[in-house]
């Protein structure tokens, strides 16, 4: 009994470490490819699309973290992204602070705001939290419609109809390909930050909370602190993503952040898969690359919204782990099928 337990555990850890190595290798290759090959291969249109995709993968990572790891649904993350974008636009236009400092500052300020606003929401859980965050997204959109995004005007809001200033980029990454690389590096740092959390004490606490808040509490996990921690971490990385977004586009407008985008972001994160970090990358690709492809093919760019709706229904009914889980398994099955098909003539030939 004891021995078999040990064997299983050892077998499990062996298997998971092997998967880790493969996944890590693929991730490193993907990042290297994105850093060195992609900017050479792509046209300017696709470089811009890829930059936005990378930025949104950070926001998607935040949603995935909340939903998949802690079991909290936030339907307002694009609104939080807009907060980060607002703060960074303000700092970049009215100060001469170095860009990385601005990114960090917008992350921290979004974290503070997100946590403060989220604080009342944390007193409720489950369905109520989802509804409160949806209303929060609506409320932030209302505020942004009034304040607009800073564009170099005077005053605290920094908005002026006749002063269309451009949000600056870091001096080492002013061109589009360079800024794409810069975004990839920042995204890698954010993913690493989240991975570090998941692999250490907070990650274990979140898993416990997701399984059962009661059990987590009895096991000595401070549920409130760790929930708030998850909220804060998500707001931080989303704020940093917002900082990248402003600089990537040069100008920000409120209509880029409608309430429905928060819901759509949540939908693609569910489709991508909430239990692995790959899901965030897939989600961002679904969100930006697919509509871009559709536009090129002459299909209405709103058609993906319909597909995302269908995807959500599929996820909740049959595939809770999303594409990140489903795709490798399907590919493996396909591979086996092809392998069997290829082998069959050979075996029949040898038997006859």
């Amino acid at each position: 009994m004891e021995a078999s337990g040990v064997v299983t555990r050892a077998g499990l850890s062996l298997r998971s470490s092997r998967v880790d190595v493969i996944q890590g290798g693929v991730a490193v290759l993907a990042v290297l490819f994105a850093l060195f090959a992609l900017p050479q291969l792509l046209s300017l249109f696709w470089i811009d699309t890829s930059t936005v995709t990378v930025i949104y993968s950070i926001a998607a990572l935040g949603v995935g973290l909340l939903v998949g790891r802690v079991g909290m649904i936030s339907l307002g993350q694009v609104a939080v992204l807009a907060l980060g974008a607002w703060v960074s636009a303000k700092l970049l236009l009215s100060t001469t602070l170095p860009y990385p400092i601005v990114l960090l500052a917008s992350g921290v300020m979004t974290m503070v705001m997100g946590t403060l606003i989220g604080l009342p929401a944390l007193r409720v859980s489950g369905l109520y939290l989802a509804l409160v965050t949806l209303m929060l997204a609506g409320a932030i959109t209302v505020v942004l419609t009034v304040t607009n995004f800073p564009n170099g005007g005077s005053g605290f809001l920094g908005y002026n109809d006749n002063y269309p200033g451009t949000i600056r980029r870091p001096s080492i990454a002013t061109s589009d390909p360079a800024f794409f690389r810069y975004s990839v590096i920042v995204a890698v740092l954010m993913f690493a930050l989240v991975l570090w959390h998941l692999r250490s004490k907070p990650g274990r606490a979140w898993v416990a909370i997701r399984q059962s808040e009661t059990a987590a509490l009895t096991a000595g996990v401070n549920v409130t602190v760790y929930k708030m921690w998850a909220f804060a971490l998500t707001s931080f990385i989303t704020g940093v993503a917002g900082g990248l977004l402003g600089a990537s586009q040069g100008k920000l407008y409120t209509f880029q952040f409608p309430t429905q985008n928060s819901v759509i972001l949540f939908a693609v994160v569910l489709m991508g898969g909430i239990y692995t970090m790959w899901g965030a990358v897939i989600a961002a690709v679904l969100l930006w690359v697919i509509p871009a492809l559709f536009t090129i093919w002459g299909i209405d760019s709103q058609v993906p919204t319909i597909l995302f709706g269908v995807g959500v229904l599929q996820v909740v009914t049959t595939a809770p782990a999303g594409i990140a889980h489903q795709f490798p398994r399907d590919m493996l099955k396909l591979g086996k099928l092809i392998y069997r098909l290829l082998r069959r003539p050979a075996t029949t030939a040898s038997s006859s």
Partner: protein, 298 residues
């Protein structure tokens, strides 16, 4: 602070919109109580119905009465279809998962509307014949449409309360809300009762969509996300009390519109549902620990 007279015209609008929010949130609460599903596609269903009837009137020349009927029937049938297909599959899941499913439905409808009515240069509107006639209460002009909207909300709130308490199917719904399995064991045709709840609430979504298209604006995205006002009222009622949902909806409608003349905060008035719901949630949850209850506050 503006004078009282500048607030006056906004009272009937607020009460009317509050009436429609009440209509929706009563439908939402009844469906939630019967099936455990919080239908976030409520706004999208109403919006799609209103868009269809606009097209029927303006492009196909259908008499407006029939077009409105089509909108209402669309609301009922589409919601019923969703409920019949996905209701049973998700019946045993957490309320949160059920709500997420309806979010998928909402996205499908929203995407469809944006594709089908892609020309955003046309200003679309729905106007009832009752918009142009009305009467005065003191110095305040009131349109008949506004009266109808409020009356619908009031009648539905009373009707739903009576229905749930005194009819057989209403009792079955209340039993379902408590325990689906036991209700089924008692011989209640669970699927049929749930279908009735889906259809009924869908009809209400269709009616609210039309009224909101007239009173507010006919725009797919705006109408879809007016569900936030409805959700807020339902949330303040803790997804249980129909009376509270009605009162909350009226208060939200009135406060939202009464803020209009106050220049300093008029632009922020649409934050009303969020602010009121947060205040309500916080005051409800004072001194109580809610994190254990599945689905939050019960």
């Amino acid at each position: 602070m503006p004078s009282w007279s500048s607030f006056q015209p906004f009272i009937p609008i607020g009460v009317a919109l509050g009436g429609v929010y009440a209509l929706s949130s009563v439908g939402m609460v009844v469906l939630y109580r019967a099936t455990g599903v919080l239908n976030l596609a409520y706004g999208a269903v109403g919006a799609m119905g209103a868009m269809i009837s606009w097209s029927l009137i303006n492009n196909a020349g259908v008499p407006s009465g029939w077009a409105y009927l089509v909108a209402v029937v669309f609301g009922g049938v589409s919601t019923l279809l969703y409920g019949v297909i996905f209701g049973p599959a998700l019946a045993a899941r957490d309320p949160l998962v059920k709500a997420v499913g309806t979010l998928g439905f909402a996205l499908i409808l929203l995407g469809l509307m944006t594709v089908l009515w892609s020309n955003s240069n046309i200003t679309r509107s729905i106007t009832f014949p009752t918009d142009n006639s009305g009467f005065n209460i003191g110095a305040i002009p009131v349109e008949w449409t506004q009266v109808i909207a409020f009356a619908f909300g009031l009648v539905m709130a009373i009707g739903a309360t009576v229905f749930l308490r005194f009819t057989k199917i209403g009792t079955a719904m209340r039993a379902l809300a408590d325990d689906r399995e036991i209700t089924a064991t008692l011989g209640v045709p669970v699927r049929r009762v749930e279908a009735a709840a889906w259809f009924g609430s869908g009809i209400l979504a269709g009616v609210s969509g039309l009224l909101l298209a007239d009173l507010d604006t006919l725009d797919p995205s705006t109408l879809t996300f007016l569900v936030i006002f409805t959700v807020s009222a339902a949330l303040i009622a803790r997804l249980r009390s129909i009376t509270l949902a009605f009162v909350a909806a009226i208060v939200i409608g009135v406060v939202d519109n009464m803020i209009t003349p106050i220049n300093s905060i008029t632009d922020y008035r649409d934050m009303t549902p969020f602010v009121l719901a947060i205040v309500a949630l916080l005051s409800f949850s004072r001194g109580r620990q809610y994190s254990f209850a599945r689905g939050g506050i019960r």
